[in-house]
Symmetry: C2
Subunit: 239 residues, 2 copies
């Protein structure tokens, strides 16, 4: 008999998720940090039947297992055993199994999302931290008595990351309000929540001249750091 | 471009776990219900380096993603959209994505285990609900601020299952004590904890004559129901 660990197993997506996030930069580091980040999970055949999630309406939260489809390991390379989590400033290395980094031997992620609504075979979720079009391989109910362990500790990630102040250039605010109307999405709130996580690498000390940018929906959002502890949104333009 | 959902992805185990559980019957339905159920996770090459989990010593609990290697879906069959969870008596059907059933489109499970010890490249964990030799495909740290949601609700599984009384035939108790010495394992406590979950299907009304049995380590444990609300351990013998 072959040893079990040499077995490989093929997984196939059951759904995709549509989210505002078009690139990895500025996605909050854990789910639930940006409550305005909503997504729509579209079940794929043969799972696009309401039978497949009958009962899920009794659950406030779901675990979503997904593929890190933009961080697939290169199988011709030696697997990476250590990563540099942004949490620790981006310079310090820790073991890959001590982090939730997307660079993993098996490119599977696990996010806890709030289930907002079930409409036909589409699930609306909030608090998402997934790239648009991420392939989803499983949905499991959150089971509070088993999953919520108030005594658990993790001193590498003891609390939610500290927030940075976000202010807006008047013009950027007006642009965002216009797009909010057009997209029928919480543009201002999502930009506010994502940027307040301070997306730039912690080891960078930004000069006020340096501009940063990210794509959310079809919008190019630009900002800079007038001082090291403040972000100022400069513009929110259609890409 | 092919639609993403037609992509399949191959996962390869990074570790195996050794546990007392030799069959699915009588395994607690969620992790942490039997704290005496300990397991040893053995990392496989090339991950059997302490580098791969440096920093994990800061975490009290870990998520283990694993393959349901004894419940692999038959790919020649139409996928099952509904299951009958034991929790609901084993008769009522619910959607597969509303349960943690092991019969899933992608046979991946997710268990929250307590990390007891790291010795070389072996992790000792407790509260396990995994079959012996289960292939493990990922280990991720529990992040309390993100994973523990005290306000979450799930009315399909609102609390830990009710416990049933477990009493011991004098002979069974003595046998268990002997094996406990020999195996250096918490034999009595684990039998007590697993049986108090009442492993039999909820729709069965057992006659006192009917014997049930399960294999734990190399032991055959036998019991019956002298009344519907009590289990009596009859024997604990080497298999």
């Amino acid at each position: 008999m072959q040893p079990l660990f040499s077995m490989s197993y093929s997984v196939t997506p059951i759904a995709t998720i549509h989210t505002p996030f078009r690139e990895k930069f500025a996605i909050p580091r854990q789910p639930q940090l940006a409550t305005a980040a909503t997504g729509k999970i579209h079940l794929q055949p043969p799972f696009n039947s309401s039978q497949a999630f009958e009962g899920l309406e009794h659950c406030s939260h779901i675990w979503v297992l997904f593929l890190f489809h933009k961080a697939m390991p290169d199988l011709s390379q030696t697997p990476r055993l250590q990563v540099r989590p942004p949490r620790l400033g981006g310079n310090q290395k820790v073991g890959v199994f001590a982090t939730r980094s997307n660079h993993r031997p098996n490119a599977i992620g696990q996010s806890l999302l709030k289930l907002e609504q079930i409409t036909g075979t589409c699930l609306t979720v909030s608090g998402v931290d997934l790239l648009n079009d991420t392939p989803i391989i499983d949905i499991k109910p959150y089971i509070p008595y088993a999953d919520c362990v108030p005594t658990a500790t993790n001193s590498l990630a003891a609390g939610a990351p500290a927030l940075i102040s976000v202010i807006w250039a008047e013009e950027a605010r007006q642009q965002a309000e216009g797009h909010q109307q057009r997209l029928q999405q919480p543009v201002i709130e999502l930009i506010q929540q994502c940027l307040s996580q301070d997306p730039k690498p912690a080891y960078q000390t930004p000069s006020p001249q340096r501009e940063y940018g990210v794509r959310l929906w079809d919008l190019d959002v630009k900002w800079h750091y007038p001082s090291t502890d403040t972000i100022r949104v400069l513009s929110v333009l259609s890409a």
